[in-house]
């Protein structure tokens, strides 16, 4: 297994405006823990079929973190979003039916923002590693604590990662201004570049 594979974390989450601040905290945490974030945002400009891109990301990632927080019904259509459970299913399928040496060793963490809610809508995943979170601090802690068991590196506690993340957020307007970027309009690649560079010189 190459190092890129064992460092890659597929992140399965909603990509709506309401989730953006949580996503930014997760991005920061994964890089701060020495792992590489892989998510569908990489393919924003691609014309490929989305599911093919998802499968490609899962194939190159040993780890998966699946946030199933967005299960409520859409206010207009009265339907839930099924993308996150679908992608979790593909990930579990890769473990069960993929190459046993490589994909059989994949590991995943399931997150939700309500305790035990999954039992009502996806009870088949009972007995898995499912953690709830209720704030940015707790999602950082859930991810940091889980990843700390996957690395030989000594990681700072979630409290310190959260403090670093808040410093990064305070610095972000200045970093954007220097490049004539607007924080709210940063592309995924711009945000990733800023976060990685910031972490490199502020560890």
């Amino acid at each position: 297994m190459n190092e890129n594979y064992t460092r890659s974390v597929f992140y399965n989450c909603p990509f709506d405006d309401a989730y953006q601040s949580t996503f930014e905290a997760v991005l920061f945490t994964i890089y701060r823990c020495g792992f590489v974030l892989r998510c569908a945002k990489e393919f924003d400009d691609s014309g490929k079929i989305r599911i093919e891109n998802i499968v490609k990301l899962i194939a190159v990632s040993k780890y998966g973190i699946h946030d199933l927080c967005r299960v409520e019904l859409d206010s207009n259509l009265k339907l839930p979003r099924f993308n996150m459970p679908l992608e979790l299913g593909i990930f579990i399928g890769a473990i069960k039916f993929g190459d046993t040496v490589m994909h059989g060793q994949k590991e995943y963490l399931i997150l939700d923002n309500e305790d035990f809610r999954f039992k009502a809508y996806i009870s088949d995943i009972s007995g898995q590693d499912i953690k709830s979170y209720h704030s940015t601090v707790t999602i950082i802690k859930r991810i940091r604590d889980w990843l700390s068991n996957k690395t030989a590196a000594t990681l700072p506690s979630a409290k310190f990662i959260h403090a670093d993340y808040n410093r990064f957020l305070r610095d972000l307007p200045k970093l954007c201004k220097a490049n004539k970027w607007i924080k709210e309009e940063l592309t995924y690649k711009e945000l990733t570049s800023l976060a990685m560079n910031w972490i490199s010189v502020n560890e």
Binding site: N4, R38, T192, S193, N197
Partner: protein
Amino acid sequence: MSVTKESNLLGSKGSSQVYNPLTDNYILRDGISGKYTKISHGKPFKGIRKELTIIQGVGFPIPRRTALKAEKAVIALRNGEL
């Protein structure tokens, strides 16, 4: 003080360097001022301690121009120039 690129001059005693996998740059941190003063592309500064970094790189292509702009801004911020 702005960052000098590809300089042969080494830093003062206690200087260190950080590797940025996004840009393949080595960034020299001056031992006295603590500021980032020089950049070497692709080659580490000889005789200068390398700081361990947790950052492992990125799994998808980021345009070099974007990565360099982010690096320049972060260094300027750390150097108190923003």
